[in-house]
């Protein structure tokens, strides 16, 4: 309920002239987002007195729901403030691509597995779907999420390069065993079918462990922007390594030092040396309600709510501070609490109407706790930009307006 708070406020504000006012409101935001005509018929005064719509072939959300991704051309940001539970709808899963979203006919798509294997293979999508399958709920986060925009904007604008889906596919280790990995193999190189032929190296131990070749997302085929018809999904690791539109895996004896693992996705330290192959995503949490851009109606009860995750395992604890980090109290973790997935946390809170700074910090199963931004800068200087997981602060003003107060 709470993540939609600003929409609900809009409802309440419009009062008895609800129908007309809301139609105009929804129309206006549609026009802003999609340049569609603003004309929308009002909802009936009493929906119990008229027949509703007939069944449809492919469902749509209510026309009164308008949370959308913010497109930046080569990426788009998930509206985290509008999410409930832990699953991101596929249509709102963040995007990042380096040469656009390719248009691929699954009947013509081929996956080749070759290199240091006994039996180089070519698989069609039909072949791939005949192997034993698994479904897993995993978050994904771009390792560039959050740093450059720290302290600026809404939770979507500052942190929207993360999402969480149920992914269905084949365990890559099973396919590699099927091809027969030869001794001396230490890495794989994965290549996409986009116009960048995006390529990354993955250590063989990870490739044989929990990597999926995913063709399903949230119960249907994976979306084109997520790698249709098949992507590699590397659980817990930076999003870039989960190569989309996967067409080739070569089993090799060294990392290939591709552009995406040398020039990009490396972190420059003050010494001038750069950290490389920084794969895992660190523990991170965000309060999504109340968050910047939202407004509290007045003193009283609110349920603080948010998301926590760690690339190294399950979330064990989330703490909330309502006084800018001086005192911390445990939030409630909603089940399910899954490894390498979003965990939804909540915390009942009575706002007394004064100016406050809200923060959350999570701890994962290894005992690693999300740091303050100063701790990260102390450890790494200012010239890095990936793997930013600092505690986010939201300032609630006396007027109820919430602002970004990090850094």
């Amino acid at each position: 309920m709470n993540p939609r708070y600003s929409d609900r406020r809009r409802f309440l504000k419009t009062g008895v002239t609800l129908g007309a006012a809301l139609a105009a409101d929804a129309g206006a935001s549609l026009a802003a987002d999609d340049a569609k005509p603003a004309v929308q018929p009002p909802a009936p005064d009493d929906p119990t007195k008229v027949q509703g719509k007939r069944a449809s072939a492919y469902g749509e959300r209510s026309r009164f729901e308008n949370a959308v991704r913010i497109s930046q051309g080569q990426s788009s940001l998930t509206p985290l403030q509008a999410m409930t539970g832990i699953i991101t709808p596929s249509a709102l899963h963040f995007e990042r691509h380096h040469a656009g979203v390719p248009d691929i006919d699954p009947r013509r798509h081929r996956l080749m597995i070759h290199g240091m294997v006994d039996r180089p293979l070519v698989l069609t999508m039909d072949d791939l779907k005949r192997f034993p399958s698994v479904s897993r709920i995993y978050f994904m986060e771009c390792s560039g999420n959050g740093f450059r925009k720290r302290g600026v904007g809404t939770v979507q604008e500052a942190h929207g390069l993360t999402s969480c889906s149920e992914w269905t596919g084949v365990n890559l280790g099973l396919l590699l065993r099927e091809a027969g990995v030869q001794s001396g193999a230490t890495w794989i190189v994965a290549e996409g079918s986009d116009a960048a032929k995006m390529t990354r190296s993955v250590p063989i131990a990870k490739a044989m462990n929990d990597v999926l070749l995913a063709y399903g997302q949230n119960g249907e085929a994976i979306r084109p922007e997520q790698g249709y018809p098949v992507r590699m999904f590397v659980p817990g690791w930076e999003g870039n390594i989960s190569v989309k539109w996967l067409r080739r895996i070569k089993v090799v004896d060294a990392p290939y030092e591709t552009r995406e693992e040398t020039s990009k996705y490396t972190d420059l330290m003050p010494t001038g040396k750069a950290r490389q192959f920084t794969f895992e995503m660190d523990p991170k949490s965000l309060i999504t309600f109340p968050s910047a851009g939202q407004k509290l109606q007045g003193p009283g009860f609110y349920e603080i709510s948010g998301l926590a995750w760690s690339g190294r395992g399950a979330i064990r604890r989330v703490e909330i501070s309502t006084d800018g980090g001086r005192n911390w109290k445990d939030a409630t973790l909603q089940t399910p609490v899954l490894p390498i997935a979003y965990t939804r946390f909540t915390y009942g809170w009575k706002w007394d109407g004064s100016e406050v700074v809200l923060q959350s910090r999570c701890t994962d199963e290894h005992g690693d706790t999300q740091p303050v931004v100063e701790a990260l800068i102390k450890a790494r200087g200012e010239n890095w930009s990936y793997h930013f997981n600092a505690i986010q602060s939201w300032k609630v003003g006396k007027d109820g307006n919430v602002e970004n107060a990090l850094g």
Partner: protein
Amino acid sequence: MWRTPLARVAWFLTFSAMLGMSLPIAAQSPTYGLGRAATPSEIKAWDDAIHPDGRELPPGSGMATEGAKVYAAKCASCHGKTGTEGPNDKLVGGQGTLNTAKPVKTVGSFWPYATTVWDYINRSMPFDKPGSLSPDEVYSVTAYVLSLNKIIREDEVMNAKTLPQVRMPNRDGFIGDPRPDWESPHTRTTEPSKQ
């Protein structure tokens, strides 16, 4: 007793069964038998990611003088006339800046392997026509970018043998991953298994 042929067969079968038990899926034969064998020509056609030792580099060659023409026609509009003007990634300069407050990361100052330059140009560039350059053109543009950075001379020929031997200035500029590297309010309880 192992000297008779029959006994040898029996021993072999027993030994194979033991191997099979200890290596349930590994090694000898596929479990599912799905898909088909990749042919050598298919593999050759797709096998274009370049190992740092250059083993996949194709025949062909090029020099900076030839690369300058290709660069002017197909690269300069995004990367600038001399590789420094942008608007997209700077390719030239920045050496000696990585440990300063304003590091400039370019091919010359940051990229650790010359093979990566060839590979990235070959697979992803030019942005509006990726994969359209011939191997000779990729060798020559690579040579041009390296020579602009004064890593090779203008008259040096780049090919499958010479390119992997180019030593990039930042070849030793990369280190491992020490995370978690921050001071934490709580004490770490277990050591995550490193993959």
